[in-house]
Amino acid sequence: MRVLVLILNRLLWFIPTLIGLMIITFTISHVIPADPVAFFAGDNATPEQIEALRVRYGLDKPLHIQLVNYLIGVTQGDLGVSIYTQRPISEDLLARLPATMELTFMAVFFSTIVGVPLGVFAAIYRNSFLDHFLRVLTVSGLAIASFWLAILFQLLFAMELQITPLQGRIDGWGPESITGFFILDSLIVADWDSLQSALSHLVLPTLTLAFPAMATIVRFTRAGVLDAINSNYVLYEQAMGLPSNLIIWKYVLRNALIGTVTQIGLIFGILIAGAVVVEAVFDWPGLGLYAVEAILNSDYNAIMGFTLVTGAFFIIVNLVVDILHGVIDPRTQA
């Protein structure tokens, strides 16, 4: 019951935020450009095409009417047509979504599985060699440009050592498309070649994307565990002679992890921001690469659609994380 109240509460924030995002993209695409129509028509349009578009898109109507039309259109899934591919943008984006999601989830998974235990050990063995080494690594991880790291990985692993593929998502056609996630689909239809190819292509992009995310997770987990270790309840547990393994892996970890969960929203922000450039470097056919191509082709509509969809995705992730946090932290139910 209180979970329901929690969800409703968060939705109250979520919907206006989403609408606000739409208003922002509207402003960027309709208000900022000197001539929004020329903007939509692209660099190569003729004056007649521009005029035709002006009427067709209702860009001769007053601004507030345009806004309303825009909002209505977006909620119905109409994000306009790509100048480059001539297809509805929503279709293009939907087709690209699974690739980005698969990459992002792998990155989250990897950075959490590796990052959390490292953070715990860094805290327990504070000021040890491991702790200092991790500190150097995490600071570096947050200072490296993702696109540069991607190129370095390519140079080293794909070009020099030749142990991973250079780019792309898979060799050949890939498995039968059921979910759009190559790994899942390969497993479902038992297509082992596709599975192997998909996995090997995932290695470098995932590593690149996960690097800064892992750095953040290690830092936050370490801080959370240290906080817990220095707390009064750990002192009490120690004073009452509870085994230290119990204290760390049951009591401290739960407290630290609750803090880490809220960071997942932050992590996703890093990942989505990184996805754009990482997909560009690895030729990964996801939303990021779509955005890059749209930039190159001056496909303004597509960029707006991309902004809206990625922004909305990020907002949704934060909503879910918020709700999750409310559910697992008993203190928020006060």
Partner: protein, 336 residues
């Protein structure tokens, strides 16, 4: 001191801080008999909490150092034992702890029941090896559960079962401290170390908790070391009182003698600073010294009107006169 349950002898503890090394305990002595309730009084920073934590062995590992002395519990020097062994056999079994702030001493993301049952499982079981605790059979778990409920009733908590299901923030301060008392009694300890257990509570609740603690300790013949800066509280429940100043113990006597015939100048000033019926508040001139470069000899000498050459050079030795009223001073007050 004969066959005391616990005897702290000449304990020296120092803390390394950013500004230097602080001598927090300067050769402190303390002893307690079975079934005795001893009060450890002193102002903030006098070292009473450090002494309590030293006995338990939970000083901060990186900054605290025990440079000398011994802590004899049940004829064993705890300072000679390995920390693992102390954690397993002594803490939470023979010596238990009641913390100052019951709110932050509970883990906020686990239910109270979770935390108590863990304590039962790991510290109450009669088995030698923790592995047996893990395999506690259903019957034993039920017994444990019953015992917990009984204990919660003993500390006068209504609806013990409901409490077990609650989270720490859902329970009031007084209730939390009662639960802490119950948890301290759970493993059937010989000694409870209560570190300012009522400081964080409302005044009206304080008296209740103190009386409860005293009654239960008496019933079960459990010794209690009770640290406080509240002289009134000490008077309420202690059998004997030891007063500390700036890391040195000054005087130790039975509660009556302590309050009626204090011998140490500091004790006299402390008692004199209590508001009296004749009105007026008398403080003690001067300030508590920093412990990084403390005064030499008796650390109270800068503020003591009776201070002499000896007081500055060498700290007075321990001596136990026949009337069992110990004072470490060159100029104790004599009563006839």
């Amino acid at each position: 001191m004969g066959d005391s349950l616990l005897s702290v002898e000449n304990l020296h503890v120092s803390f390394s801080t950013e500004n230097g090394v602080a001598e927090v305990l300067d050769g402190v002595n303390l002893s307690i008999q079975t079934g005795e309730i001893v009060g450890l009084v002193g102002e903030s920073g006098c070292g009473k909490t450090t002494l309590a934590r030293s006995i338990l062995g939970v000083l901060p590992k990186n900054s605290a150092k025990i440079s000398d002395g011994s802590i004899i519990f049940d004829n064993q020097n705890l300072l000679d034992m390995k920390d693992q062994d102390i954690a397993r056999d002594i803490r939470g079994r023979l010596i238990t702890f009641i913390p100052q702030d019951p709110f932050s001493s509970f883990n906020p993301v686990f239910t109270i029941g979770d935390q108590i049952m863990d304590l039962m499982k790991w510290k109450y079981s009669k088995h030698e090896s923790p592995w047996f605790a893990l395999r506690a059979r259903k019957k034993e778990r039920e017994n444990n559960f019953q015992r917990v409920l009984e204990l919660l009733q003993t500390v006068q908590l209504p609806d013990p079962e409901g409490i077990l299901r609650k989270y720490p923030h859902e329970v009031s301060g007084g209730q939390r401290q009662r639960i802490m008392i119950a948890m301290a009694l759970l493993p059937e300890p010989r000694l409870i170390i209560a570190d300012e257990p009522t400081t964080a509570l409302d005044v009206t609740i304080q008296a209740q908790i103190l009386k409860l603690l005293k009654r239960l300790a008496r019933e079960r013949n459990v010794s209690v070391i009770f640290t406080t800066h509240d002289l009134g509280a000490a008077y309420e429940i202690c059998d004997r009182v030891t007063v500390m100043y700036a890391g040195q113990e000054a005087e130790s006597a039975s509660v009556d003698k302590f309050f009626e015939k204090p011998r140490h100048p500091y004790t006299k000033s402390l008692l004199g600073s209590l508001p009296s019926k004749s009105g007026g508040l008398k403080g003690i001139p001067g300030q508590i010294p920093a412990l990084i470069n403390p005064p030499s000899g008796c650390r109270f000498h800068p503020r003591c009107s009776l201070a002499s050459e000896d007081c500055i050079t060498r700290r007075p030795q321990v001596n136990w006169p026949s009337d069992d009223h110990m004072v470490r001073c060159y100029h104790p007050k004599i009563y006839d």
